[in-house]
Symmetry: C2
Subunit: 238 residues, 2 copies
DNA sequence: CGGTACGTTGAGTCATATCAACCATAGTGG
DNA sequence: CCACTATGGTTGATATGACTCAACGTACCG
């Protein structure tokens, strides 16, 4: 532990480390973002913004994990995606000029930079390769959303749970002992998969019985990735 | 009926009529698009492109309706969206530089313009308000996709069907007799809602029994919009 | 006239949601 | 320090929405 673990991260450095969107900015532009941004820290459970809020900027994650979710008619959460270091959230609302259509809550304590809308808009106007990168990002997310729609509409809960586990492996990785690095409650898992908490619990213990995973409380150890792939019926990636 | 109903539509005129994306282009740019584009006509059932194709441009719809869908593991279609005059499709693949993640098939005979990728990229690079509009478009679609994910994950088939009917009313409108202007097979309806054809049929006749709709083959007459809203549990729009 | 695609209905099944009870853990306040 | 409460996890019993399968009707088309 460093003594002063507390200074505001520099965008330049952060962009290099995390491969964030800002890599396509000029040094001057990075400098501007650095100057205009607001550094913030949050703890697990904190809410960055909520559905319906009008948002005056977007967030770039420096450390930690955030869940982005929608609240359904009956109050149930549907997790749309996670954001991890280098990723940005809330840019959708800023750009489409609509109020937030999702809420964002901290899953793992995090440090983020808040960047005012005007900066984003002006960067898009002045730096076309940044604009293009942003478009690519949005389009890529759109593609993922489309796949997810198809999955939820057509696959069983069992298939989806297996698929989500693999997706989490992909996004967050495993530690030396093959434990998923991200730790979620059963309810959160259910809110990704789009099912009831009890169903997740039952299916996870089936997976355990089939020696696909091992369960230690919230920690999930992946024992047989091939097996999960088989269950999930994942289609080949593009 | 004009005698020569066959000439290639001018983007300038089309953009005005349909309110397409191209309204934010300069006259010169419109001229360029006009020059570079390729006019094409398709009939119901024709396929514009298929999942997995590498695409060398995008399509701007001048007339007709197209369905954009993904094919699931077992070959079942999931309709992602429709495209009608003034809207563009396949821009996602062009921009994210990935192969098509959807297929596009004609629902109502249509006339479209095919515009090469390079044009799109160069417009983005040179006209920042066009880039911004495109970003807005992508972000808006992303918002809709997110809502749809939540709906499919949380609502019953009954609720979703009611919602989709309302959505079709919104997107395509009703004629003088309150018939939905877009005409879909039961299977297509099922492939939007994410259910089995039989379920759509059964629910539609329930709706009919409840005097919410009237059915004349493929034509659906909306009798009680409020009632459908109640069933669908639509949340207030932003 | 036979063929093909679409629509409809009924019956049976199964996956998943719901409801209820219970346990474990940790944090809180008296 | 202990009861108290909240939160999350687990399991069982039961209900049911929705899918599947199968049969049949209907309409259009060459």
């Amino acid at each position: 532990m460093k003594q002063h673990d507390f200074h505001v991260p520099l965008c330049e450095k952060c962009a290099l480390e995390t491969g964030s969107l800002f890599r396509s900015l000029t040094p001057d532009e990075v400098e501007m973002v650095n100057f205009e941004k607001d550094f913030r820290q949050y703890k697990r459970g904190d809410i960055l913004y909520q559905e319906g809020n009008r948002i005056s900027g977007f967030y770039c994650i420096h450390s930690g994990i955030i869940k982005v979710y929608k609240t359904g008619f009956d109050g149930k959460e549907q997790i749309i995606r996670f954001a991890k270091p280098g990723e940005i959230i809330a840019y959708r609302s800023v750009l489409s000029n609509e109020v937030a259509c999702t809420s964002a809550k901290v899953i793992e304590d995090c440090q983020v930079c808040f960047i005012p809308s005007e900066i984003l808009i002006s960067l898009i106007k002045t730096n076309s390769s940044f604009a293009l990168d942003l478009l690519k990002l949005a389009c890529h997310e759109l593609g993922e959303a489309n796949s997810f729609i198809t999955d939820i509409a057509q696959k069983t809960v069992r298939e989806r749970l297996a698929e989500i586990l693999l997706l989490l492996v992909n996004d967050f990785g495993l530690d030396e002992e093959n434990y998923l690095k991200i730790s979620l409650t059963r309810e959160e898992l259910a809110n990704i998969v789009g099912t009831a908490t009890e169903s997740v619990i039952r299916l996870l213990s089936e997976f355990k019985a089939d020696r696909l995973v091992e369960l230690n409380g919230r920690k999930i150890r992946i024992l047989n990735q091939k097996g999960l792939e088989k269950i999930s019926n994942v289609m080949e990636r593009n």
